[in-house]
Amino acid sequence: MPEIHVANLTKTYGATRALDDISFVVHDKEFLTLLGPSGCGKSTSLMSIAGFEQPDSGSISVGGSVYFDSESRTSRRAEDRELGIVFQSYAIWPHLTVFDNVAFPLAVRRYSKAAIRAKTIEVLDLVEMSPQARRYPHELSGGQQQRVAIARALSASPSVLLLDEPFSNLDAKLRDRARGWLRGLHHELGLTAIFVTHDQDEALSMSDRVLVLDGGKVLQSGTPEDIYRRPASRFVADFVGHCNFLTGVVVGNDRRRELRVELDGTGANLIVDTPTVLAAGTPITIAVRPEAIDLAPETASDAQRQNCWPVTLSSASFLGDHYDFETEMGPGPLTVQTTNAVSGGQLRVHIPATACAILTP
């Protein structure tokens, strides 16, 4: 089964670098997500693997066969790459029925009529679309069209599935359902999948591994937990979920795994739980997730507690399943997310030492 190797991929459009020396490996049966804002290079990477974009340099190989290599001037044609692709627009052919859409990859491969029929029905069963086999695309709902697109991508039994923002045209409810369904399908079929999205929830909930891209570069690669809990850079922290950034200077390493940081402008000392050892005087930035911060009315014992400071409330908003509070701690704002309402009076925040992530400058 295939491993996908992407090495040193570079692509420029005029003055912009769409891909800036990107390298990554997708392991067999892995569900890898390329996550990033628009223009970060995620779709260009995917379309380079699919063969619809021609990188300027680098190499791509799938399961040992070279698809693209600028050194040896190899570029296998898109139609010979044997991949399954699901497009953002679905790209279901409007003049063909559901059956003919799904049967097309098999017809191209010149299977016998009976084999095409049997295989198409099997795949349509898999995506629960057999009852609609005789319908035309314009007679289907968005969710059904999307399943036809996936069925078509799977019908020629590819071992690699490429998905380019397949859920972006679905409404929120349907998107949730489709996520679970696709994850299950991936698991059952044992495919290697590359999934492109700008939606962090999709990336976190579906992937075995996430690659965060920006400006044509891979910023971080890791499991969803890694990416969320231990973002390597300010961009990753900010892009994946909301984040507070605290800047300060290292005062000292108190004990093993404990870093004491003097926060800028407040003089307050923040204890950070980390294996990293840094020399005193090093300026650093720390990321803290809003939901990791505890907000409560101030009590007498708070002054003695570590990482505990009084704050003033500047705004509060209710978002259904949680509250967002904008608070002022010393010179800077701090966003806190809680599940319970907190009412006025003197408030304090508590930032757990384990919730602080040190960002590489």
Partner: protein, 578 residues
């Protein structure tokens, strides 16, 4: 269990093979189109700088033909006449086109949709039929002219003048301005007009101060186009200018060719080259201006949106009356005149038409072998030529916009270029091409030669119908086919072609009609055995035979009407799933 399903791929019946490498196919298409478009211009240029025709030995390179052309006072008279004619035609056509577009698409004027169809009718009406109709009614001895002059003793106009020809030209070219302005109107936000209404301006003021100024780029664009096209007008001076001995540029070349003491004179080729350079320059200027204009359009915010018509109030009926009068005077009355003429020997004010009714003209059309043959030739040429043209343009559009062929970028301008070559110049170019090269003798003096000219001339028309539809087909649709394993040829055949079907039908109908109505490019190639209806009509009319010409024009109109009807039905059927 499920993975077992997907792993159980049946063995392939046979491996995939490509009959022709796709690059070979694409190169063939590219080369074919480029050769037929650029090819004929070179022999034309060559003929214009040789002292003797290509087929005569002993010629040398010389600019004598150009000297002879520029030294001929008649040439400069024709140039001046053409400039005045084109100026009048442009100003009137663009002024009316813009006004009618605003009235039909931005105001509460009644019958806007009906008027749109009627105003666009000159595009498909046989131009020669319209001209003959005009002469029969408004000509110097036309029905209306005579009624006004002899019966009512009013001062009358003279249609056989540069002014008269300019006005007829304006009605023929008005649809171009109308369509351009309409497209621009559909692209602008009616909120701009609402804002002016909200600021207290009356609807008439809004049209004058907001709508028309916003149309300025479209007006300029269509003005250059109309000016360029009217510069090459051949039918109008031949039909109307003959009696007054007024030549325009194209008819000067035509007469020079026909009346020259030496056959195939070089100065005509030189004149054609000068005309090509002039018209190409104008159209180049237009595309430069269009490019500049596009930049402004792209920065404007919301486009389209809801279009609320401007309420004309008590001016509404006036507008309806003006447009109705225009349609009546320029199209309906001349077409009725044409029909009457086809049923009488002479159309005279002295005798009521019903006393002159005769079937002779129609009998001639049906029984005269020459006329009969020209009808068959026309149908064969238009039917086969439209098929060839549309097929070539579809293939070329695939190569130009949906392939990775190295030279694809040059195809779109190549397909657009034939429109910039005046029909008469294209005709002379092909005349020389067929003489100069041995394969040319295969198509010389037969219908194949005329078919090729007509096809080249109509490449642009087919392309501008098909290209917009092609851009509306998302690239993902062919990417999905490639990802499914289909090669370029199969993707084009199975995915793109079926999706293009409505555009292909539309292009076929329009090219068919255009070929049926064409004569400019054919007058130099037609031999008695290969004459088509338009050329037969032109030559008979200039010889003073009007009745059968009118009947032939009616036949042509009927063919056009039936093709439009069949096309409309086919179009509706083809849009089931799109």
């Amino acid at each position: 269990m499920v993975s077992a399903v997907l792993d159980s791929a049946p063995p392939r019946a046979s491996t995939r093979r490509r009959v022709l490498p796709e690059t070979m196919l694409q190169a063939t298409i590219w080369l074919g189109v480029t050769v037929v478009v650029v090819g004929p211009l070179l022999p034309l240029l060559y003929a214009s700088v040789r002292t003797k025709p290509i087929y005569q030995a002993g010629g040398v390179f010389s600019l004598a033909a150009y000297r002879q052309l520029f030294g001929d006072p008649a040439y400069w008279r024709a140039v001046w006449n053409t400039a005045v004619f084109s100026g009048i035609a442009t100003v009137v056509a663009v002024g009316l086109g813009a006004l009618f577009a605003v009235l039909c698409h931005r105001t509460t004027m009644r019958f806007g949709r009906v008027f749109t169809v009627l105003l666009l009718a000159p595009i498909v009406l046989p131009p020669l039929g319209l001209m003959v109709g005009w002469t029969s009614i408004y000509g110097d001895s036309g029905y209306v002219t005579v009624v006004l002059a002899k019966v009512l003793h009013l001062p009358v106009w003279q249609l056989s003048s540069v002014l008269g020809m300019g006005l007829l030209g304006a009605t023929v070219f008005m649809p171009i301005a109308f369509l351009t302005c309409r497209a621009a109107l559909e692209g602008t936000d009616s909120a701009l007009e609402d804002a002016a209404l909200g600021a207290g301006a009356s609807p008439i003021t809004v049209i004058r101060r907001i709508t028309l100024p916003l149309l300025r780029p479209a007006i300029l664009n269509s003005a250059i186009l109309v000016f360029a096209i009217s510069f090459e007008a051949l039918g109008i001076p031949l039909i109307l200018g003959q009696s007054a001995h007024i030549d325009l540029y194209a008819s000067y070349l035509y007469h020079g060719w026909q009346n020259s003491p030496t056959p195939d004179p070089a100065f005509v080729s030189a004149g054609a080259i000068v005309l090509i350079v002039f018209v190409s320059g104008l159209l180049l200027l237009r595309s430069v201006l269009l490019g500049a204009e596009q930049r402004f359009i792209s920065v404007s915010g919301r486009r389209g949106g809801a279009h609320r018509p401007l309420d004309l109030g008590r001016w509404g009926p006036v507008a309806t009356g003006v447009v109705a009068l225009y349609v009546l005077v320029t199209a309906i009355v001349p077409m009725v005149g044409l029909m009457l003429m086809s049923f009488v020997q002479v159309l005279s004010t002295l005798v009521p038409p019903w006393q002159l009714i005769t079937g002779d003209n129609w009998r001639i059309v049906l029984h005269d072998p020459t006329l009969h043959r020209s009808i068959v030739n026309s149908l064969v040429l238009a039917g086969g030529g439209a098929l060839l043209t549309v097929a070539v343009v579809v293939l070329a559009t695939f190569v130009a916009h949906r392939s990775r062929f190295a030279l694809r970028a040059s195809l779109a301008p190549t397909l657009m270029y034939p429109r910039a070559v005046p029909g008469i110049a294209l005709g002379i170019g092909f005349f020389w091409t067929y003489l100069m090269f041995t394969p040319g003798s295969l198509v010389r003096n037969n219908l194949w030669g005329e078919l090729l000219v007509l096809s080249v001339r109509n490449l642009t028309l087919a392309y501008i119908v098909i290209y917009p539809s092609m851009t509306r087909i998302g690239r993902d649709l062919d990417h999905a086919a490639r990802a499914s394993g289909a090669g370029w040829a199969r993707t084009c055949r199975r995915i793109l072609l079926p999706l293009l079907r409505p555009a292909v039908i539309g292009a076929y109908v329009l090219v068919f009609i255009s070929m049926l109505n064409e004569f400019d490019a054919l007058v130099f190639l037609a031999k008695p055995s290969t004459q088509v209806m338009s050329v037969t009509m032109l030559q008979n009319f200039t010889r003073g035979v009007a009745g059968p010409v009118a009947a032939l024009a009616m036949v042509q109109t009927l063919i056009v009407a039936s093709v439009l009807l069949i096309g409309a039905v086919a179009l509706v059927r083809s849009r089931r799933h799109a």
